[in-house]
């Protein structure tokens, strides 16, 4: 038993933290909120140079052969820095889907580009009436000669405006298939949604969008297979990002409680304050352990659906707690835009909802426990 990170992983974390503290201060996060791209191409390039964008791809595809545990460790730091970028959708969700489902040509062509940061791919899955877990997909792909013609509207597509490809989940004969759509293709219409934290997510309307059959990822009607595996993977990564952000909120609150003086003493000496900090510490420690356990099981190839559900359910509740404690203890100042607490709070909502919120995963867990639906 060894519940700690390896020395190498610790080094990676430390290096990532130092890098992000220097390169991604919250002033940059604020600037990027107001930028069109919503991420920094310069920083993106540096992340590519550090090997982050191909972290978990095999070396033959330009990756660094990292494991999911390595990736969770990195995303703790990314979460801590609330780094805005398409890294989760492009390199993790789409990257893993291509890795699991793509043919050799697709992998060899795309993965090196993704890991170099030259190509951004984003997942177009959710719709107005279908969450990420696949209510009925209404976007249709119809075979037409050597092509498919895709029609319908996708929603909540992150970074679609800067993506080179959309990895689109579309209904084919009876089930779902995956298509890589060049975002420049005629008939692709991308509209920014007005979102919390100015998050760059979009409506993507597809009107008679023609894609060659060779752009199908995985087998016809079997897109859910590789996608599901990638979603599992990405859910654990998402938990890592949440844990990192919550730890940061805890650190900020603790630091503040030591220096903010009221009634002649630091507020951290008031038990109403310190007990909230203690409770948050329990939540963050627990969320971290359950996340790494899920990562470890996935790496070891063991059944881990339950563990993933537990991780996301608990990370979600830790996240809500961090928001409540943060705003409670910083009090008035946290209600101002100039204070950073709101940055963490706004992003918490995106991360809690992404890939299923606590209730969704608790419901899944109920199923795994053998409760009838």
């Amino acid at each position: 038993m060894d519940l700690g990170l390896s020395e190498q992983q610790e080094m990676l974390s430390r290096a990532a933290r130092e890098f992000l503290e220097a390169e991604c201060p919250t002033t940059l996060v604020r600037e990027l909120e107001d930028s069109d791209g919503g991420y920094s191409p310069e920083l993106w390039r540096k992340m590519a140079d550090l090997g982050w964008l191909g972290q978990a791809f095999p070396g033959q595809y330009g990756g660094s052969d990292g494991t999911l545990i390595d990736q969770v460790a990195l995303f703790e730091e990314i979460g801590r820095a609330i780094l805005p970028s398409p890294i989760l959708t492009s390199t993790v969700l789409c990257g893993q889907t291509i890795l699991y489902g793509g043919n050799e040509d697709q992998k060899a062509a795309l993965l090196p580009l993704i890991s170099r940061g030259d190509t951004i791919v984003t997942l177009a899955l959710a719709e107005a009436d279908a969450g990420f877990d696949g209510g009925d997909i209404s976007v249709m792909a119809t075979a037409d000669g050597g092509d498919y013609v895709i029609n319908g509207t996708k929603l909540f597509v992150p970074y679609a405006h800067v993506a080179d490809y959309l990895l689109c989940v579309a209904r084919t004969s009876g089930a779902d298939s995956l298509f890589l759509i060049d975002s420049k293709t005629a008939g692709v219409n991308i509209t920014l949604l007005h979102s919390v934290a100015k998050y760059k997510q979009h409506e993507v309307a597809l009107q008679n969008v023609r894609v060659p059959r060779t752009n199908m990822v995985g087998q016809l009607d079997q897109g859910r297979g590789p996608l599901g595996k990638a979603v599992d993977w990405a859910t654990v990564v998402q938990c890592g990002e949440i844990v990192g952000r919550c730890q940061k909120v805890l650190d900020l609150v603790v630091d503040y409680s030591k220096v903010r003086v009221q009634f002649g003493r630091p507020i951290g000496s008031f038990q109403a304050v310190l007990h909230q900090c203690a409770d948050l510490r329990v939540a963050v420690d627990g969320a971290r352990l359950v996340t790494y356990q899920a990562a470890w099981k996935l790496v070891e190839g063991r059944p881990c659906s339950e563990d993933i559900a537990m991780a996301k359910a608990f990370a979600g509740s830790a996240s809500r707690q961090a928001t409540a404690v943060g705003h409670g203890i910083f009090a008035g100042i946290a209600f101002t835009v100039e204070h950073d607490m709101q940055l963490y709070m706004m992003r918490s909502k995106i991360q809690e909802a992404n890939l299923g919120d606590s209730d969704f995963h608790l419901d899944n867990l109920g199923g795994y426990m053998g409760f009838p639906t």
Partner: protein, 388 residues
């Protein structure tokens, strides 16, 4: 990173589990604190068998009869004992008094006290709390005054669990009233038969029997002083670090939770399985997550100990979460059972032999090794460095 035990450890776990499964059939399992005479004797007999197998003191250093193993094996043992719901006996002796004597005792004391503990023959109770000293234990007033080669004890101890089964009471007494409060306290082991010691029964709500203990000029030999005079507070605190994982408590609750989930899947009420109620399903899934977090937090403490680290805030993190989680579980389970939750051991109608009602009472024990508030203080002050 590795969340798993080694093959050898797994073998140990499965050996001990099958041993306990065989030796402790359901009718002998202790779901909560009831200790009938029969349960107690049974618990002791199991411990003797465990001692014969060399398992009882597996976490002790080899020189005192322990296994050549470490905190992980100790934790595996604790977890198996909890999950097997083995009636608890001798816990204070094994986890608290034994280590204190090992670390701070004289060679004569080691010879006198340790072998009976290791053979599951000696039973101890703990006399720390007093009527006016609970969380603020350091303010205790109980006196020990040196008189020749004896110490004269006066005062009263509160919440003496096991008092009626113990041969010895392991206690803290003030030996220097003029010293700063933590520096005037000493540790003693007193024979409960010592003239001047008496007990007032203090039944607990979980069905077990404790006492308030009175000392009226009770004279014990000075050789019963453990460690240095006036260093008792520090000795006692150091000894607390021996078994910190809390896995036994976790595992016994997990077992009841597992049974309860099974019950929900097989029991109909209002024409439907309890598990078909979507609200129950959701609540139980949430409890399952909380239980898993508890398990992981306990194992983190065990793992830290296995690396030689001394968990401090981490142990409080596990303890606090566990205490809150247990209450959350039992209240939820009571809610799901509705009126059935009000049945204790009704032979005809109670479900799980009244276990949920019992563990619900047990879960009001929110303050074993410190109240939840005290654990929060420890986490915040020692773990997070917040000011006092």
């Amino acid at each position: 990173m590795n969340f798993e035990l080694t093959e050898e450890q797994k073998k140990f776990r499965s050996d001990i589990r099958s041993f306990l499964e065989e030796e402790v059939p359901p009718e002998h399992q202790a779901v909560f604190g009831v200790e009938s005479e029969e349960d107690y004797r049974f618990g002791r007999s199991i411990q003797r068998k465990l001692a014969d197998n060399g398992w009882l003191t597996i976490g002790w250093p080899t020189e005192y009869g322990g296994g050549p193993k470490g905190p992980i094996e100790q934790s595996i043992f604790s977890e198996a004992m909890g999950y097997g719901r083995v009636p608890r006996t001798g816990t204070t002796a094994l986890n608290i008094v034994g280590p204190a004597v090992m670390y701070f005792g004289t060679p004569e004391q080691k010879e006198k006290y340790l072998p009976p503990i290791a053979r599951a023959e000696a039973e101890y109770c703990q006399g720390f709390s007093e009527p006016n000293a609970g969380s603020d234990l350091g303010s205790l007033e109980f006196r020990a005054v040196r008189d020749g080669d004896e110490n004269v004890l006066n005062g009263s101890k509160m919440f003496t669990s096991w008092a009626f089964r113990a041969q010895y009471i392991y206690l803290l007494a003030r030996t220097d009233p003029d010293a700063p409060k933590h520096r005037g306290i000493s540790l003693f082991i007193a024979d409960v038969k010592t003239p001047g010691i008496s007990f007032r029964p203090l039944p607990y709500i979980n069905g077990s029997m404790a006492a308030q203990t009175y000392f009226d000029d009770a004279r014990i030999p000075s050789s019963a002083l453990i460690g240095e005079e006036n260093r008792g507070w520090y000795h006692a605190m150091a000894t607390l670090d021996f078994e910190r994982s809390g896995l036994e408590r976790y595992a016994s609750v997990q077992r009841t939770f597992d049974d309860f989930v099974e019950l929900c899947k097989t029991t109909k009420y209002n024409g439907k399985l309890l598990s078909e109620n979507p609200i129950a399903r959701h609540k139980l899934a949430k409890i399952k997550v909380g239980m898993e977090i508890w398990r992981l937090l306990c194992w983190k403490v065990a793992w830290m100990q296995s690396t030689g680290a001394v968990p401090n805030a981490e142990a409080s993190v596990a303890f606090l979460h566990g205490t809150v989680q247990r209450l959350e579980f039992t209240q939820t389970a009571m809610e799901i059972l509705g009126l059935y939750g009000t049945l204790m051991h009704d032979p005809k109608w109670s479900l799980m032999r009244g276990a949920i009602e019992g563990i619900h009472r047990e879960s009001m024990h929110l303050h074993g090794a410190g109240t939840t508030e005290i654990h929060r203080n420890i986490i915040a002050q020692r773990g997070l460095g917040l000011p006092r």
